[in-house]
Amino acid sequence: MHARITMGNVTMQTLEASHLRRWMMLCAAAMTQQHEYLTQLDAAIGDADHGTNMMRGFSSIESRLEGLPATARPSEVLLMAGTALMGSVGGASGPLWGVALRRAGKVLEGLEQVSLEAFAGALKLGLEAVTELGAAELGEKTMVDALEPAVRALLEAAARGDDLAEAFAAAHQAAEAGARNTAPMVARKGRASYLGDRAIGHQDPGAVSTVFIFAAFERAWLEA
């Protein structure tokens, strides 16, 4: 059952730590299932390890979830997840998702329940951490091209007052469209940038794994 905050006569859906835990577990499952595909995408324009990197990172999160006290708040789940990625991935995707989740976690500190608005805002700051660290702009054929539209979709959904299911469906779709759009791009960040025109025609692996992360969130909410 989904938690709600009642403000005046509006009942708002909220996210709790349990949702975020489930999110991380579904991410781990998705990366394990899709790692060969992601690595294959990375073989085309990178060094053939993105799947292994993401699988290793989210498995590390999964194995640390048990150690997290039952009372851990949403922020603590995100901080732990970010730290686990930083400590286990190594590849570009590790520190990027690491700072994103940690920044988002910091923003949410103290909260037991997180509104869509707060969550979208936290992810927006996570996105900022990504661009601060990696300096990628939109259109440079990176995970930012999936993450940015997904975060924007969440912010818009929050502004419209969508419910969480709608919001995360929209975010997932936006990420997917963003990842698809990376195919015709020339890369300007990450390993694919060395290839010049030869990267054209291939989707960016980090953008595709970002889609899986938003897809996992959608499912985490629906299955709750």
Partner: protein, 330 residues
């Protein structure tokens, strides 16, 4: 994948264990964290040198730990940067009170992990970003050039500077000078086989080569027809010489580096072609290094690095060094 390995997920640790046992006289390897340090205690007041990167580049990085070179290094998984935690541990281990120089090859993962680590440590740091691969045309705001053979030269030259008791600023100056004055270019005859897939990352036809490759097995900048060594060397050396703008009378250090599966004999032959071209231009080879120092798993290929030398660099190059890979003067 026919390689001398067991389960591919154990390769990194098993390789490091072999290295640790073989070089226990010089290097102390912490297998749990994949961080290694010099065997002997830190010299108080000496600037520490830390390098690191993915696995698959052996003997880089651990092979350059020792007197006159690195103090600590850390290694990630195959072609993946070490993590922030590992880098912090290496920094801590190398810090003898005079600060630490981080030697970082310009790859997104490495740069970001080292950046985050740098933000999280209290140890005074300088960072040198190695980006000597001139097969890449630099574009404003883009990822920029990859770090290649200059990394090896910085290990030695900045290492000698630190060993001489120089300050962090001075050690960083030397490292940046080497970075600024060197250029590299690589070609591959075959892709490497990555343990992640058990397959070659890309296929090169029997009459083709991949030009402008880095050290992570990724594709190069273009495909060309296979050609005799003299033509391949000219192809690699041309952009290097253009950028370094060497005049007759100039003096250089040449590193001919094997990428993993190239026999030493061929590297000497490549060096001979480099020498012929440089001599024709009146450029003198003051020092040289031929061997497989910075590899890309079992890639069949070679990279050439040229460093423009001056008195200071000559002196630092000749200074004693005692590491598993480089050893002279002591």
């Amino acid at each position: 994948m026919k390689r001398f390995i067991n389960a591919s997920e154990d390769s990194v640790l098993e390789t490091l264990a072999g290295f640790a046992a073989c070089h226990a006289d010089l290097v102390a390897v912490r297998l749990a964290s994949k961080v290694a340090t010099r065997r002997e205690a830190l010299t108080a007041g000496k600037v520490g040198l830390v390098s690191g990167g993915g696995f698959g580049h052996e003997p880089t990085h651990f092979g350059f730990i020792g007197v006159g070179a690195l103090d600590a290094a850390c290694v990630g998984t195959v072609f993946s940067s070490p993590s922030v935690a590992q880098i912090l541990e290496a920094i801590q281990s190398a810090d003898a009170g005079a600060g630490v120089l981080l030697i970082v090859k310009n790859y997104a993962g490495d740069v970001m992990n080292f950046k985050v680590a740098a933000q999280e440590t209290a140890v005074p740091l300088e960072v040198v970003l190695v980006s000597d691969d001139c097969s890449i045309t630099p574009q404003p705001g883009a990822q920029g050039r990859r770090g290649m053979g200059a990394t090896v030269l910085i290990h030695k030259l900045a290492g000698a500077m630190a060993q001489s008791g120089a300050s962090l600023t001075e050690v960083a100056r030397v490292a940046r000078k080497v970075s600024a004055c060197s250029r590299s270019y690589g070609v591959a005859l075959e892709s490497c086989v990555t343990p992640n897939t058990g397959k070659r990352i890309f296929d090169v036809a029997s009459d083709e080569i991949e030009v402008g490759v880095g050290i992570h097995g990724e594709r190069g900048v273009r495909r060309e027809k296979f050609a005799p060594a003299k033509d391949l060397v000219a192809l690699m050396l041309e952009p290097i010489l253009m950028e370094l703008n060497l005049q007759p009378g100039a003096s250089v250090l040449v590193l001919v580096n094997g990428l993993g599966a190239t026999p030493l004999a061929e590297l000497y032959l490549v060096f001979n072609e480099v020498k012929i071209i440089l001599e024709a231009r009146g450029v003198g080879i003051a020092r040289s290094l031929v061997g497989s120092f910075l590899t890309s798993l079992d890639m069949a290929g070679t990279s050439i690095t040229v460093l423009s030398m001056d008195e200071e660099l000559l002196r630092l190059w000749d200074a004693p060094v005692c590491t598993p890979v480089l050893r002279w003067g002591m």
